[in-house]
């Protein structure tokens, strides 16, 4: 599996199977073996210790994606997510230890949206990346192109989304090389969903929306009748196992506000310009009301020719224009009442 390659899961796993699983007193770390010919294998630290639940854990700065520790106690510690999917005997010591509480917050909070219409798929997102109250990055990129005809929107922890997108891009390319055809959006969504499944229950938080155009190269039987013979597709994949196909998705803390604008205006027959302005308005309204969304709007349009990116637009100007309009309306209203 992909993440296992990065973390040298296979070699570490074999080591721990052959040697008896040691009951290590806390504080002892197994020395990393750089010279073993593998890139690196230092992730098997044995800082297992029982942490009783304390009130500061409830106030832990990580609010999003943090599964309550009761779930983790069942099988093994969440520091070894790989082992949940393996056939390692369950008589692990320290089985009731929970994950180490992190002393720092993760980047989170966003508004992303995507919808299908007659001119393809339109994806839009804000660019603010926040870390429990601090804006970690006002210009982050939440729409990541995976290949020429597939674009993914990310929501959740930014590190998780960035890395999993990379892993997905690699797996799609490998599929294309091995099978001679490109995997459809539906297949890519299924692949991502299955890759994330071993990490269900851990703190991983990825909520991705995949928007793509499936060319004639993808195999038969992958299209439904509802998409009116168009090859675009839109999927929502979440790290808790959800995989949904739809015509309209909005994800993130600002999604309720975006949904209200989109539900009002989106229909199949939109022109490209109308669709762009609705998407922009939806993100703008979400940034207006949601504290964790803001800064700029990114927009990608996917058609049979691939994805095109619109220049990033700073919403600051829009706020000033809105202020002018309001001021203008107020003076107009005042003139009207005076003239009665």
């Amino acid at each position: 599996m992909a993440l296992q390659d990065i973390c040298n899961f296979q070699s570490v796993f074999e080591d721990s199977l052959t040697t008896e699983y040691p009951a290590v007193p806390h504080g002892k770390k197994i020395a990393s073996n750089y010279v073993s010919g593998l890139p690196f294998s230092n992730n098997k630290s044995l800082f297992h210790f029982y942490i009783p639940v304390a009130e500061y854990l409830d106030e832990s700065p990580i609010q999003f994606g943090q599964i309550s520790t009761v779930q983790n106690c069942s099988a093994d510690s969440s520091e070894d997510p790989f082992l949940t999917s393996s056939t390692l005997p369950t008589c692990l010591p320290f089985a009731s230890s929970q994950s180490v509480p992190l002393p720092f917050p993760m980047a989170h909070g966003t508004t992303t949206l995507a919808f299908m219409f007659q001119g393809g798929v339109l994806a839009a997102a804000d660019t603010r990346s926040s870390c429990s109250g601090l804006v970690a990055c006002p210009a982050s990129q939440k729409i990541l192109p995976i290949h020429s005809h597939l674009v993914g929107l990310t929501s959740g922890t930014s590190a998780d989304c960035a890395l999993w997108k990379r892993i997905l891009a690699r797996e799609l390319r490998l599929y294309q090389l091995r099978h001679g055809r490109r995997l459809s959006t539906s297949g890519a969504a299924k692949l991502l969903s299955h890759m994330l499944h071993p990490f269900k229950g851990t703190e991983l938080c990825v909520a991705a929306t995949l928007c793509g155009w499936d060319g004639g190269e993808t195999g038969p039987g992958s299209r439904g009748e509802t998409t009116k013979n168009q090859m675009t597709d839109l999927f929502y994949v979440c790290s808790d196992g959800t995989r949904l196909r739809g015509m309209l998705f909005s994800v993130g803390s600002g999604s309720p506000y975006a949904y209200s604008i989109l539900d009002q205006g989106v229909h199949w027959g939109l022109t490209v310009d109308e669709a762009k302005s609705i998407a922009r308005e939806a993100v703008y309204r979400a940034t207006y009301r949601d504290a964790y969304s803001g800064n700029c709007v990114d927009m990608y349009h996917i058609t049979s020719k691939g994805w095109t990116r619109r220049n990033r637009e700073d919403l600051k100007e829009e706020y000033y224009r809105e202020k002018e309009r309001r001021k203008h309306e107020k003076t107009e209203r005042r003139d009207v009442t005076f003239s009665d």
Binding site: P39, N42, P52, S78, S99, V100, P105
Partner: protein, 240 residues
């Protein structure tokens, strides 16, 4: 390593703690500690600057006044890491080893962009027990332009023009936004940053940070990276 000192950073900032006897308190072993320190990096047209203070603290004590947080990786790249000193040391050891391996198998030094991508995967490999380190890489890219890559503790990164990390980052980043990014100012001419002006700005910025952040002070180590090489300079800061 007691956890009590962490509250002022990540707990509720405005709430006063009530000091009265609540019963026996169990102190847990925490594998993390916060050793303070601030790191800053600025990228210019043909130079990059990585600067850090040199104070190593823990709780109310100062362990060392001469522990700089800039680590030279290659002739064109410097890494600044602050946070938990133990993880900083291990991480730099791992990066050095990986750089050597790359050099031996590919017969060339890693570029700044490649180091950044590699650091991202190294950090993410410890997704469920992260390195408590805030990294900023400063260096020159293949075209000779300055590049700054900023990371979060689990490996999310991107290329910036300037970034501050560590304990005083929340104080310094808005100042850099204003002075280098010309943000939140109207009608100002955007002059490109020269190397001397950038060095002076970094010095001023750290002096301000030392005034207001207890974990920043003692001395400032500035590494200026140009195509001629890396030039290091140490300037004293407040010691209290």
């Amino acid at each position: 390593m007691l956890f009590t000192c962490m509250f002022q950073h990540f707990g509720d900032p405005g709430k006063m703690k009530d000091y009265h006897y609540t019963g026996p308190v169990e102190h847990k072993f925490s594998p993390y500690a916060f050793n303070g320190g601030t790191v800053l990096a600025v990228a210019g047209e043909d130079f990059a600057i990585v600067a850090s203070d040199t104070r190593l603290s823990e709780g109310y004590s100062i362990h060392s006044r001469d522990s700089p947080k800039c680590y030279k990786l290659t002739d064109t790249t410097v890494l600044g890491c602050s946070g938990f000193h133990g993880d900083c040391l291990t991480l730099t050891k791992i990066i050095d080893a990986r750089l050597k391996m790359y050099k031996h198998s590919n017969n060339k030094t890693m570029t700044s962009g490649a180091i950044a991508a590699m650091l991202s995967t190294i950090l993410y490999s410890r997704r469920f027990f992260p390195y408590y380190v805030y990294n900023i890489i400063g260096g020159l890219d293949e075209e000779g332009k300055g590049a700054v890559y900023s990371f979060d503790p689990v490996g999310s990164y991107q290329r910036d023009t300037y970034k501050a990390g560590g304990s005083a980052s929340a104080m310094l980043q808005p100042l850099l936004d204003n002075q280098i990014g010309f943000k939140n100012m109207e009608g100002v001419e955007h002059v490109p940053l020269t190397k001397d002006k950038a060095v002076q700005l970094v010095k001023d910025v750290f002096i301000s940070a030392a005034e207001r952040d207890v974990y920043t002070g003692d001395a400032l180590r500035i590494c200026v990276i140009t195509k001629e090489g890396i030039n290091e300079e140490t300037i004293p800061l407040r010691k209290d």
